[in-house]
């Protein structure tokens, strides 16, 4: 679907799309069950709970128990979703994800909402800036961060059908719409959004839209920027990365996550095996953020198009030598 202009009209939050997808899944498959830890109105599992109360398990504020309950349900053949804020389900439930799901190969569907720093006002105790690193360290898990409501809805359904475990990252803030309703998505298959051979920007989640803004700004100056939506961070689409490295010679990775352990590290690891090239990283730098409106926090911590564009210019300058 490579094109040059994106309207980026504001859509709903990816967590809302997750909630809608869950309800549809519930109607399609009576084997789908959902666990939540007293955040169903925030995670948007409340819609499922209302329509399918007998298949919704209120676990209280006890994430470790919730993950293992989900693993028990999955062991008994259920398609078990467990959901909370990303920081709580990953950090408080990590040991349980490891021992009751990943290691025994029990397929569980984990959806962490309010991820990244775009949760805003609630501040760092509720922000999840290390969830990608944690989830990627669980052998066998697929890790997915959809950029908009269209891709979220589709990928939640794919995740339910996947035989293995999945972590899906969802955001609290509204996200610009990138895809048309008819677009299809495949877990593990990156999407090239723009064509260009001067530079590649690989992004996931909220930063895909920022990367597109950068692409449009630099495109107006005659610079060809290839934007790739790496909605699946694991398993990584290494073919798309190698092709971008070969054809553009420079890759910028942009993500709403710590630069340590995020997609950037995984892309760098991949290009060292295929076609080493110049790289740089836009992400959260070795710090926790703070309270503020989502826009103000993203701005202060360097995650808006301005920052992506500046990093892209620096990388282009290095490329030109």
């Amino acid at each position: 679907m490579t094109q040059t202009k994106f309207e980026l009209k504001m859509g709903g939050a990816t967590r809302a799309a997750f909630g809608k997808a869950l309800v549809e899944l519930g109607r399609e498959n009576s084997n789908v069950v959902v666990c939540d830890a007293d955040l169903s109105k925030s995670t948007n599992t409340a819609g499922f709970a209302k329509e399918f109360p007998e298949r919704f398990f209120s676990c209280g504020i006890a994430e470790a128990n919730m993950v293992a309950i989900g693993a028990g349900l999955a062991s008994a053949g259920k398609v078990a979703f467990v959901s909370s804020f990303s920081c709580f389900v990953l950090n408080k439930g990590f040991e349980q994800l490891r021992v009751t799901a990943a290691y025994p190969q029990v397929p569980i569907k984990v959806v962490g909402t309010h991820s990244g720093i775009s949760i805003g006002e609630d501040g760092p105790s509720q922000m999840s800036i290390e969830d990608i690193a944690l989830a990627c360290s669980l052998p066998g898990f697929a890790v997915i961060d959809p950029a908009d409501e269209v891709s979220m809805k589709s990928l939640v359904k794919s995740a339910a059908a996947l035989p293995g475990s999945v972590f899906i990252r969802a955001g609290r803030a509204n996200a610009p719409v990138i895809y048309g309703a008819e677009h299809t998505f495949e877990i593990g298959k990156a999407i090239g959004l723009t064509a260009g051979n001067d530079l590649t920007i690989i992004a996931h989640g909220l930063l895909v839209a920022e990367a597109l803004r950068t692409s449009m700004a630099l495109g107006a100056e005659g610079v060809g920027v290839r934007v790739i939506d790496m909605h699946t961070i694991k398993p990584l689409d290494e073919a798309a990365i190698a092709k971008a490295a070969r054809e553009t010679g420079a890759i910028l990775v942009a993500e709403e996550h710590l630069v340590d352990g995020g997609l950037g590290v995984r892309v760098a690891q991949s290009v060292t095996k295929s076609h080493p090239c110049l790289m740089d990283y836009v992400g959260i730098q070795n710090t926790y953020a703070e309270s503020g409106s989502p826009e103000a926090v993203l701005d202060k911590y360097g995650l808006v198009a301005r920052d992506v564009t500046a990093a892209a210019r620096r990388l282009l300058a290095r490329k030109r030598g």
């Binding site: 298949r55 398990f57 470790a64 128990n65 028990g72 021992v99 009751t100 290691y103 190969q105």
Partner: protein, 277 residues
């Protein structure tokens, strides 16, 4: 030694217990490491389940959807589970002495990648009760008569997740789940009362909304009666507080914290087997 349709007589069950204890000594002895004390304390509990007609299971059909589930949450006591499962026909008896060796189906802690008839991989304490409750919920949704049994260590229930799970089980009235505490009073570092005492333990479970039965966990008739009471208790889950003796059946191992995680040497193996003849 069929199990599903033929509960064994009291004499037969006592003989099975001795066989299981001999396996435990031989396995841990051969491995030169492992956990004999907490394996020996749980023998009657597992024998009553697998051979006394309490656990509805079929070793010839381990995937049977309506089977009861058993989880050894105190995974370090896997020698007792492996021995019982082998004698029941799930896995080979003649391989028990490969415990803890590379590639053995008898891994150092229960690992369902190697032994798929295990219901859960355990070893990190505190998690089995939650998994059992998830299974209990699935059975309720499926309108299955399947029950879930989970053996917990006494030291293990110092883990906070156990009490999250306890709240969940009672709140959701999961009366098809039965927790069994192997209350042998000893954990790795010493006596439970000297490390993080649990008393009044029955009151704690009752306060969390569970039906509690306390009994001598080595008296097979009382163990059997306790499981019956658990099955007949409706509207709430049951916690069986089985008072047991760590190292039970081997005089020099009984009530001695040393034998939590130490293997017997050749002389000790011989002495133990003599007592268990």
């Amino acid at each position: 030694m069929a199990t599903l349709t033929q509960p064994q007589s009291a004499e037969q069950l006592a003989a099975v217990c001795k066989t299981i204890r001999r396996h435990i000594i031989n396995m841990v002895g051969a491995a030169k490491s492992g956990h004999p004390g907490g394996s020996l304390s749980a023998v009657e509990l597992l024998v009553s389940l697998y051979f006394g007609g309490q656990l509805k299971h079929d070793p010839k059909n381990p995937e049977w959807k309506d089977r009861d589930r058993f989880i050894l949450s105190k995974g370090h006591a896997c020698p007792v589970l492996y021995a019982v499962m082998a004698e029941a026909g799930y896995c080979p008896v003649d391989k028990l002495n490969t415990l803890r060796q590379l590639g053995s189906i008898y891994q150092g802690h229960p690992d369902r990648r190697f032994l798929p008839s295990l219901e859960a991989s355990t070893g990190s304490l505190g998690q089995g009760l939650s998994v059992a409750l998830g299974m209990g919920f699935a059975a309720r949704l499926d309108k299955s008569p399947s029950r879930a049994y989970v053996v917990l260590g006494d030291g293990e229930i110092q883990e906070g997740q156990i009490w999250e799970a306890a709240m969940f089980g009672a709140y959701h009235k999961l009366d098809n789940v039965c927790a069994i505490v192997d209350y042998n009073k000893i954990q790795l570092d010493g006596w439970v009362k000297d490390i993080m005492g649990l008393e009044p333990l029955g009151d704690k479970w009752r306060a969390f909304g569970w039906h509690v039965v306390e009994f001598d966990g080595h008296d097979l008739a009382k163990v059997d009666a306790a499981f019956n009471e658990a099955r007949n208790t409706k509207g709430k889950p049951t916690c069986l507080l089985a008072h047991t003796v760590k190292g039970k059946g081997v005089s020099f191992m009984e009530n001695n914290p040393k034998w939590h995680g130490v293997a017997p040497n050749a002389d000790e193996i011989a002495a133990a087997l003599k007592e268990l003849a």
